[in-house]
């Protein structure tokens, strides 16, 4: 059974908005953010995202698990970019100012040896990347917690997706928490058989093999559940023709204002980026540290 995100009805400005307007706002912010690398602009977007999160009156307690997972992924990706130096060189900067050379360092798990050049550009790029990803996720994370799950499908239909795709988006939204629940049950079942995931050892291939007791049941369950869902949909005539969406959404004035603002931000960002604003900004202090 697909489960929904932990939604709670709250009388907030954010929840009173039409979910379509909120999705448009989120997409506008997303496509605006990705046009810049300037940390100061990123912080501005992060501020807007944090404001939205605050207005939604979400608490740390209810979003804690999602934040931990997101932070793990963001920190992992940022660290990897910082260590390897890949990503920024091609997209955001072309020359680097060395602050310090470390190494050789031995990477855990894979055992690779590498020299680490800490440069002003690489450092600020990592910070920008971190801020950019947090701004995007802060913007997005409020959606599942504050949009009524029974409105997912009609929201995407209202944004112009065909019936089948709109319902597929509805199912996909609920697939993530369902996967999380299945993973938790499997972890418990295997721990009860003496399996200790924290005691994984050996090389990377051996470690992945040792994860099979978790990964195989979760994957197979996801496939079997998908088949069940298809059967259940078929048995109730899904996809036989144009469908009625029983829930109805109506734009109000605030929604229209939000959509207009979103369009303005996106258009403004595109023009500014086209004119060359918002490229990687390296603070003078860092450059002095490198050259001094």
């Amino acid at each position: 059974m697909l489960i929904a995100w932990r939604y709670r009805e709250r009388d907030t400005i954010i929840q009173r908005l039409d979910p379509r307007a909120r999705i448009i706002f989120m997409l506008a912010m997303l496509f605006s953010i990705i046009q810049f690398w300037d940390l100061r602009i990123m912080l501005l977007f992060l501020g807007v995202a944090a404001l939205q999160f605050g207005l939604a009156r979400l608490t740390w307690r209810e979003t804690r698990r999602a934040w931990i997972l997101i932070s793990f992924i963001i920190l992992f990706m940022t660290t990897l970019t910082f260590l390897t130096g890949r990503g920024g060189v091609a997209t955001a900067y072309h020359e680097e100012h060395l602050i310090r050379r470390l190494g050789p360092l031995s990477l855990p798990i894979v055992g690779w040896q590498l020299h680490l050049d800490i440069t002003a550009e690489k450092t600020i790029f990592a910070l920008s990347q971190l801020t950019r990803m947090y701004a995007i996720t802060t913007m997005a994370i409020t959606i599942p917690y504050t949009v009524d799950p029974s409105l997912y499908g009609v929201t995407f239909r209202g944004l112009g997706l065909p019936d089948k795709f709109a319902y597929a988006m509805d199912l996909a939204f609920r697939f993530v928490p369902t996967l999380g629940r299945d993973f938790s049950i499997t972890l418990d079942a295997q721990r009860a058989r003496g399996y200790e995931v924290e005691k994984l050892s050996g090389g990377i291939v051996a470690q992945i093999r040792r994860l099979a007791p978790l990964l195989v049941p979760v994957t197979i369950n996801a496939i079997v559940s998908a088949e069940d869902i298809i059967d259940a949909m078929d048995l109730r005539a899904f996809g036989v023709g144009p469908r009625t969406w029983v829930r109805k959404l109506t734009y109000r004035r605030a929604d229209k204002v939000l959509i207009a603002a979103s369009a303005l931000v996106f258009a403004g960002s595109t023009v500014l980026a086209f004119m060359g604003f918002g490229r990687l900004w390296v603070p003078e202090a860092l450059l002095r540290l490198a050259t001094g």
Binding site: M1, A4, S150, Q190, P213, A237
Partner: protein, 576 residues
Amino acid sequence: MPSTEALPLVVENLSFRYRDRDDPAIRDVSFELEAGKILLVAGASGCGKTTLIRCINGLIPRSYKGELSGRVLLHGQPTLPGGPGDTGGMPLSRISQIVGTVLQDPERQILGAHVFTEVAFGLENLGVPREEIVRRVDETLAYLGIAHLKNRETFYLSGGEKQKVAMAGTLAMRPSILLLDEPLASLDPASAEEALTLIRRLADEGKTVVIIEHRVEDVLKINPELSLFMVEGEVRYFGPTAGLEAAVDYHEVKLPAPMILEKARHDPPPIYARPRLAAARNGSAPGEACPERSRRVERPLVEFRDVFFAYEPETPVLQDINLSIQAGDVIAVLGPNGAGKTTLVKHAIGLLKPKQGQVLLEGTDTRELSVAQIAHTVGYVFQSPSHMLFAPTVREELAFGPQNLGFDQEAIERNVTAAVDILNLNGLEDYPPLGLSFGQQKRVSIAAILAMRSKILVMDEPTAGQDYKNYMAFMNAILGLPDFEAILFITHDVDLAVCYANRVLLVHQGTIAADGPPAEVLADFELLRRCRVVPTSLLATNLEYLPKTGRFMPAEALAHALADEPTRTEPRAPVL
């Protein structure tokens, strides 16, 4: 009899072989059903019951491919492709308006996040106008007495509520035929009774109902007009339900206790394993308490002290739990869906730690032990096998637990072989567990824990999805093992407690409503009713003869125990 054309459901010489199987799942199945009648379909796991349902509701051949022959007629119209004047078969959209299907597990059927959207789903797909959908959803919810659930999230409903919502989603489409595939499997006894009452009412109001069910005894209470008994894909019996008793083997299909009493008298005495762990140690048996003497002398294996647990602070799941599990205990945990039974046993294995109070395992607080350490003492069989099976072969699956616990190779092989024998998995050792049927997967999951040779065996709904013959066989085998010091199982099957437990825990709303010998706890019908446990004919019969037998036992054993008093074993109508 009405003409064939007018009958809602006609199945003629239906055969189907799944594309990846060598043998047909069903062969030459034929029957007819009139409006307003209930057809009970019985048979062991894998006999083709579900395949038959899929052929009627159109999932075969549209979703499941294979070789199909024969005809299904809905109100005189053929649904399957092929045959004279083939038009490609009736479209699924049309079939789904005539045939409504309720699957075994409502969780597999419910798609909507809320009750309202779930019930409206089929009508939305048919393009029914919005106002009409709202009206029909309200009508259906009111008809089923669940209007108060309209705005609830489906995930947080109880098992019984989910089943009703799944049925509402089907009924809102106004089908004339209802197919119910083991609708009682995941329900507590009281919810099952409510569901059956509803099914009878639907039939009485003109719906044609086909109900597949292992719990034959329960379905017989609503007097299905016709029964169909299948063995290995073929119809062994089709006719009035009154003739079912003579057609079936009571070892394969669970019949009401008075019927078994009558039939079993003429058969040789059954080989019934009295629980060896309990009997050998304490001389007690099902229906009797373990002697107080042994409880006082021995240290408890597991002890709950003032345990309180809650996922959310404002909604306690367990409170004031005080109990100890002693060597020799065979405990049946009974109670309604959502009472806290699984949460309770998860504390024993250390998967959950109490928010207040203590759980002690052989004197040590479970907070100080890892789950892996606890697994040496407590083996826990999860409810759903699909959440734990992963290995390429059954043999490797069974070896996984003992390997984690550090057993040597010789011990692992010995334990695996023994577990294979006990759970009747011989011949399947090199099969991938995930390729087996649900019933076989369940047995593999139990065998995987048996192979760990823990002191205490804990099973969550061990018989769910199993046919009667299979589960009685493995319960006999497990209870006959001398290896375990205590066994605890969660079940909705009161008869399992009657046959095997020497202690019953009734869990209700997160507290222990009763804890004692079955003859004491299960004799209090008012208490059972409060805890949504419905007495069975086997319980009633055992209670009736308890002064003579001194203990509870299965109906076959009871028939022979009473052999000296033939006049007392005359067939009677079920007590309930």
